[in-house]
C-alpha cells in the first residue's frame, strides 16, 4: 500500500534520508502514521529510531525528503506536537525542581520574555499529580528515582497539550509501577483521540502495548497494524542475523498472542 500523505495524518514522511558524515542513518523512509493510534517504533540498536523522531522535529538536518505534521511543515505545527526525549539526554544535576521542569512544557504558551506565573506552576503541579508524583514537585530532579524522572518528562509532555506525541524510549530502565503508569497514560491519550509514536525496545511487550507498529532498520521493513505486521518473518528481516534476539522475538510473539 503506497502511503497517501494526506493532511489528516499526524505524521507523513516522504522519501526521508538522514546521514551523518555521509553515511546514511535512515534511508528513503516513506511513512504515514494514522491518527488516534499507539504506534511502536521497533528496530535494533543503531537502526535510526531516535534519528527518525528527531528528524521529524527538525532537530537534525535531513539529506532529502519531506515531512509534514497534519499536512504542514513542523515549524508551523509546533503547538500540535509534544516531545519526550531520552532520559539520558539532559543533565539531572541542573538546579531545577520537578515542577520547574514540567512548567517548561508551557513555555510556548507563556510566550517570549514573559516570566512563568503562578497559574503555570499550578498547571505543572496538576500534571505531576496526573502521573502520581505531585508530592515530589519541589524536589531537585537528581533526587528522583529513574522512574520518577521519566514521569516528570511525561508530565511535561502532557503540559504541552499536544495532539501528537513523540516519545524516545520512555520505558527504558523504569520500575514496574512506572511502566504500568506510562501504559495507562498512553491509553488515556489514545482515548482522547491523540496519537503517540513511541520508540520501544522490549519486544515482549510490543503486542500488548501498541496497536500499530513501525519496523525500522535504516529502511522501513514494514509498518501497519500490529496483528498484520508484527510477524516472525518481519522481525527476522528487521533484526537480521542476531539469533539470540530472534529467539527472544519468537518468544515475544507467543507471549503476545497469549495475552489477547
Amino acid at each position: 500500500m503506497e502511503p497517501s500523505h494526506s493532511a489528516s495524518h499526524p505524521l507523513a514522511i516522504h522519501d526521508l534520508t538522514v546521514a551523518y558524515h555521509r553515511k546514511p542513518v535512515i534511508w528513503d523512509i516513506d511513512l504515514d502514521i494514522p491518527e488516534g493510534k499507539l504506534v511502536g517504533v521497533i528496530g535494533p540498536n543503531g537502526a535510526g529510531k531516535s534519528t527518525l523522531i528527531k528528524a521529524c522535529m527538525d532537530l537534525i538536518p535531513r539529506a532529502s525528503g519531506e515531512i509534514s505534521i497534519y499536512g504542514k511543515p513542523y515549524k508551523k505545527q509546533r503547538s500540535l506536537v509534544g516531545y519526550v526525549p531520552q532520559r539520558e539526554s539532559v543533565d539531572w544535576d541542573f538546579p531545577v525542581s520537578a515542577q520547574d521542569v514540567v512548567a517548561m512544557g508551557l513555555y510556548r504558551k507563556v510566550g517570549w520574555f514573559k516570566p512563568v506565573r503562578k497559574k503555570h506552576l499550578d498547571k505543572a503541579r496538576e500534571m505531576l499529580s496526573h502521573v502520581g508524583i505531585e508530592h515530589l514537585a519541589e524536589r531537585q530532579i537528581s533526587q528522583l528515582s529513574g522512574g520518577q524522572q521519566q514521569r516528570v518528562f511525561l508530565a511535561r509532555a502532557l503540559a504541552q497539550e499536544a495532539k501528537f506525541y513523540m516519545m524516545d524510549e520512555p520505558f527504558a530502565a523504569v520500575d514496574a509501577a512506572t511502566e504500568r503508569a506510562i501504559v495507562s497514560l498512553l491509553r488515556e491519550l489514545k482515548n482522547q483521540g491523540k496519537t503517540c509514536m513511541v520508540v520501544h525496545h522490549d519486544l515482549a511487550t510490543v503486542a500488548k502495548y501498541f496497536d500499530w507498529v513501525v519496523l525500522l532498520n535504516m529502511r522501513i521493513v514494514d509498518a501497519g497494524p500490529t496483528d498484520l505486521v508484527f510477524t516472525e518473518e518481519n522481525l527476522r528481516k528487521t533484526y537480521g542475523g542476531k539469533l539470540s534476539l530472534l529467539d527472544e522475538a519468537a518468544q515475544a510473539m507467543r507471549h503476545g498472542k497469549s495475552h489477547k
Binding site: H21, K54, M57, D58, L59, R78, V81, Y83, P85, S89, V90, D91, F94, P95, V96, S97, D100, V101, M104, Y107, R108, V110, W112, F113, P115, V116, H130, V131, G132, I133, H135, L136, Q140, S145, G147, Q148, R156, D175, A177, T178, R180, A181, S184
Partner: protein
C-alpha cells in the same frame, strides 16, 4: 592599614566586574562549558586590535563590537571544528582560541609601533590604576567623589547582562537544561548560546582594562561553581554567585593591602588576590556546604539510606 577613597573605587570596580562576569558565568558552568570563558577572553584580542586599527582610537564602542564578533566567531568555529573535524569540543576550543589569540598578538605588535596597547596590561589589567583614570567628579554632602572611567563602562555592561538575563530568564534556563526540547518549542537553543557567548565577549572586554583577562576567567567560573554547591534553585544560584563575586573583590583588595607586608614584600596585584580569594571561597564552600560539601557528604554516607524499593512503593500510585 589606612583605607583611602582610592581603595573604595578599586573595590567598587572589582565588584562590578565580578558580578557582570558571574551572571553569564552561571549559565556557562551549567552548560558544562566553563572553559569557553577562557577561550573567548583570549579570542577577543584580534577583535580589540582590529577595532583599534580600523578606527585609530581606543574608543570603547568599536572595540566592543570587534570583541562581540570575535566571541561569536569563537563559538562558531569551536562548534564547526568539533562537528566536521571529529574532535572533541575541548580540543576544538583549544585550536580556535590559541589561533585567534596569536593573531591578536600579531596585530597588537603591529599596532604598538604606532600606539600604546601593552600586552601585559591586557593579561593582568591595572586595577590599581583605575582611580587615576577618572570619568568625572561628583560632589555629594561635602565629599568629593571621583568616578573611575571603568566603573561607568562596567556598570553599563552589568546592567545590560542583568537586563538580558531577567528578560530571557526562562529561555536561557530551558536552553541550558534541555536544548532539544527548547528548539522543538521554537526557542532556538543555538541562538541563545550565541547570545550568551556575545555577552561573555563584551563583558570580557569591559573587564580587560581594569582587571585583565586572567581574572575575568576566574570570575566567569568560580562564583558560579561556588553558588552551584549551595543551592538547587537557579534564581538563587545567580544571586549567590553575585554575592560571592563581591565578597571575593572585597577580600581580594583587603588582602592585597595586608598580606604582602606581612610576608615582607612591598606590594602585589589586587587582581591576583581577587582571583585567589575567589578560589579560597570556593574551597571553603566545597568543604562545608550544607548538602554538597565534602564534610556533609562524609556524614550523610554514614546514615542508612531508604532502599529504592521501599521509596518507590510509597510513591507508586498510577492513576
Amino acid at each position: 592599614m589606612t583605607w583611602m577613597p582610592a581603595d573604595t573605587s578599586i573595590v567598587v570596580v572589582g565588584s562590578l566586574c565580578a558580578v557582570a562576569c558571574a551572571l553569564p558565568g552561571c549559565f556557562m558552568v551549567l552548560r558544562r562549558m566553563s572553559m569557553m570563558g577562557d577561550a573567548i577572553s583570549h579570542a577577543v584580542l584580534p577583535g580589540l586590535a582590529l577595532g583599534f586599527l580600523l578606527t585609530g582610537s581606543r574608543a570603547s564602542l568599536p572595540m566592543f563590537m570587534g570583541a562581540a564578533v570575535m566571541g561569536l566567531l569563537t563559538a562558531y568555529f569551536t562548534q564547526s571544528i568539533s562537528k566536521w573535524g571529529k574532535v572533541d569540543r575541548g580540543a576544538a576550543m583549544g585550536i580556535t582560541f590559541t589561533t585567534m589569540f596569536a593573531l591578536g598578538l600579531l596585530l597588537i605588535v603591529q599596532a604598538t609601533d604606532h600606539v600604546d596597547i601593552d600586552p601585559g596590561c591586557v593579561l593582568y589589567g591595572a586595577l590599581e590604576l583605575t582611580p587615576f583614570n577618572t570619568f568625572g567628579v561628583i560632589e555629594m554632602a561635602g565629599y568629593i567623589i571621583d568616578i573611575p572611567h571603568s566603573a561607568i563602562v562596567l556598570s553599563i555592561v552589568l546592567c545590560m547582562n542583568l537586563g538580558i538575563i531577567i528578560l530571557l530568564f526562562k529561555e536561557f534556563k530551558i536552553s541550558a537544561y534541555d536544548p532539544e526540547l527548547a528548539t522543538t518549542l521554537g526557542i532556538n537553543a543555538q541562538l541563545m548560546h550565541y547570545l550568551l557567548m556575545a555577552m561573555v565577549a563584551v563583558t570580557t572586554v569591559a573587564a580587560f582594562e581594569s582587571v585583565g583577562s586572567i581574572i575575568v576567567i576566574a570570575m566567569l567560573v568560580v562564583p558560579a561553581a561556588t553558588a552551584q554547591l549551595l543551592t538547587d534553585n537557579l534564581k538563587i544560584m545567580l544571586v549567590i554567585s553575585a554575592v560571592v563575586g563581591v565578597l571575593a573583590a572585597v577580600m581580594g583588595h583587603i588582602s592585597a593591602i595586608i598580606v604582602p607586608p606581612m610576608l615582607g614584600f612591598d606590594g602585589t596585584s589586587t587582581s591576583g588576590m581577587i582571583a585567589g580569594s575567589a578560589g579560597l571561597l570556593f574551597m571553603f564552600v566545597w568543604l562545608f556546604a550544607p548538602r554538597y560539601g565534602l564534610v556533609a557528604k562524609l556524614f550523610s554516607s554514614r546514615k542508612i539510606e531508604v532502599p529504592e524499593m521501599v521509596a518507590s512503593r510509597d510513591s507508586a500510585c498510577p492513576k
